[in-house]
């Protein structure tokens, strides 16, 4: 299926403009640049992790126009004109987001590698469903793999965060 290979310098860059955590950015990108690489390497927002790089693990999850996506499987040019929320955008005025506070309080992590993606999937879940059942929480983070915790404390943290957010 392979065709004549192009060299990177033969390919015109594409101008994109997008909002990340409320801030506007305008950059020229190579068409093949992935959103996760754009976030990490162009914007130096390294909170979004690259885990499996094969659309499996969910460590790279961010919100694009309000929906959770795996940023290793989105081109930066596809996000043109969009609004991106990364883990760096969760805290407000130096205060941890209730999800971040609950993950800390309930020890919802061990090595922490999957945590940014877990937080973003949990955020997307609670936006849509402020009072999820345990089963709905499991479904909500079905696309995020944690190899340390066995998920138990992650469920506890999301439940606690949901309760805290409902009180606000």
């Amino acid at each position: 299926m392979s065709t004549t290979e192009l060299a990177a310098h033969e390919v015109p860059k594409v101008a994109i403009e997008l909002s990340v955590n409320g801030k506007r950015y305008r950059r020229e990108v190579e068409p093949r640049e992935l959103l996760v690489q754009f976030l990490r390497e162009e914007l130096r927002l390294t909170g979004t992790h690259i885990g499996c790089d094969t659309t499996y693990c969910g460590a790279c999850t961010v919100l694009l126009n309000g929906e959770p996506v795996k940023s290793c499987t989105v081109l930066a040019v596809q996000a043109d004109g969009g609004e991106v929320l990364t883990v760096e955008g969760l805290e407000q005025d130096g205060q941890l987001h209730p999800l971040q506070a609950a993950f800390s309080e309930h020890h919802g992590l061990q090595c922490g590698y999957c945590t940014p993606g877990m937080l973003m999937s949990a955020y997307a879940l609670l936006e849509r469903n402020p009072k999820p059942s345990r089963k709905e929480i499991r479904k909500g983070i079905q696309g995020n793999v944690c190899r340390c915790t066995g998920y138990h404390n992650i469920f506890e943290a999301i439940e606690a965060a949901a309760a805290a957010m409902r009180k606000e």
């Binding site: 299926m1 068409p31 640049e33 659309t55 696309g143």
Partner: protein, 297 residues
């Protein structure tokens, strides 16, 4: 992992997309949500010279029901289909839309892309075969509609001609006494199914007036299990009839040996899933609310 370099073009209309794809020729690929294509590009399974992005074409993502027909635009995402009134009204559509991969992939992946990737592990081709859907295409030679059965011709090969794209799919709204189920088994949420099965039954009491059965991830293309349907049609649904239908579906399958399991394992799964699909479809025909989707550990 970076894909190999390619040029990027954004189509603003169907006509512009067809023009771009025709002009750019065989090195060009159409991009919708990218959840199948980008995965292949990253491992350099394919190295196109040009991508034509269809995602911004207005009007291609509509999900509508009119005059007894359901029409779903090619750019409708799995997530939007799962949340649609169509999915609420037709449980087999919800089973499939909710069963594909995980939340993140369903946010981006589209029904058109799923169909056009030609990947035998994709679920929409099998689901649409179960519903006897039509695929609506537009290309340099104009518009045409094809039955979905046979649209995926071979591994990663579809009936699309050069410059042609899928604009949507349509199928008849299942009538009274007709209901279906789409069930699959996968190793974990993001994984492709090990196998999946769609069953649509039209019943009069316990008598099967009509049946459609299709298999996904059970060979190099989606499989329309016509011999299994023939075992059910005109019969009273009992244990022996259902067993023969399951055996006929297994006989129609041709599962490959891969990391998801051996052919023998997959055949056992197909047998189980056909029985489960018939059971759920039958209960839904009787008005029972049954929630199913892909199962995983």
């Amino acid at each position: 992992m970076y894909p190999a370099p390619f040029r990027y073009h954004r189509a603003e209309s169907v006509a512009e997309a067809i023009g771009m794809l025709s002009e750019l020729g065989e090195g060009a690929r159409a991009l919708a949500g990218g959840q199948s294509l980008l995965v292949l590009l990253k491992i350099r399974f394919d190295e196109p010279t040009d991508l034509v992005d269809l995602a911004r074409i207005p009007g291609l993502d509509a999900i509508e029901q009119r005059d007894g027909e359901v029409r779903i635009g090619a750019l409708a995402t799995h997530a939007r289909i799962a949340r649609s009134e169509i999915a609420a009204a037709i449980p087999i559509v919800r089973d499939c839309a909710n069963g594909i991969a995980d939340n993140q992939v369903r946010s981006r992946g589209t029904i058109g892309g799923n169909l056009c990737s030609g990947d035998p592990s994709c679920d929409w081709p099998a689901l649409l075969t179960t519903l006897d859907a039509q695929v609506h295409c537009e290309g340099p030679a104009g518009k045409r509609s094809l039955p979905v059965d046979g649209f995926v011709e071979d591994l990663y090969a579809t009936a699309l001609q050069e410059g042609e794209i899928v604009t949507g799919v349509s199928f008849a709204l299942p009538g009274p006494g007709s209901a279906g189920a789409y069930v699959g088994f996968k190793r974990c949420a993001p994984a492709y199914p090990t196998t999946s099965v769609g069953v649509q039954l039209t019943l009069s009491g316990a008598d099967c007036v009509d049946a459609r059965i299709a298999l996904g991830s059970s060979g190099l293309t989606p499989i329309h299990a016509t011999a299994a349907e023939a075992e059910l049609r005109g019969q009273t649904l009992g244990e022996a009839v259902i067993r023969r239908a399951a055996e006929a579906a297994v006989a129609a399958s041709d599962p490959i040996d891969d990391q998801r399991g051996s052919p023998a394992f997959k055949r056992r799964l197909i047998d189980t899933l056909v029985r489960r699909g018939i059971d759920v479809a039958r209960r839904r025909c009787a008005g029972e609310q049954v929630e199913v989707s892909h199962e995983y550990y």
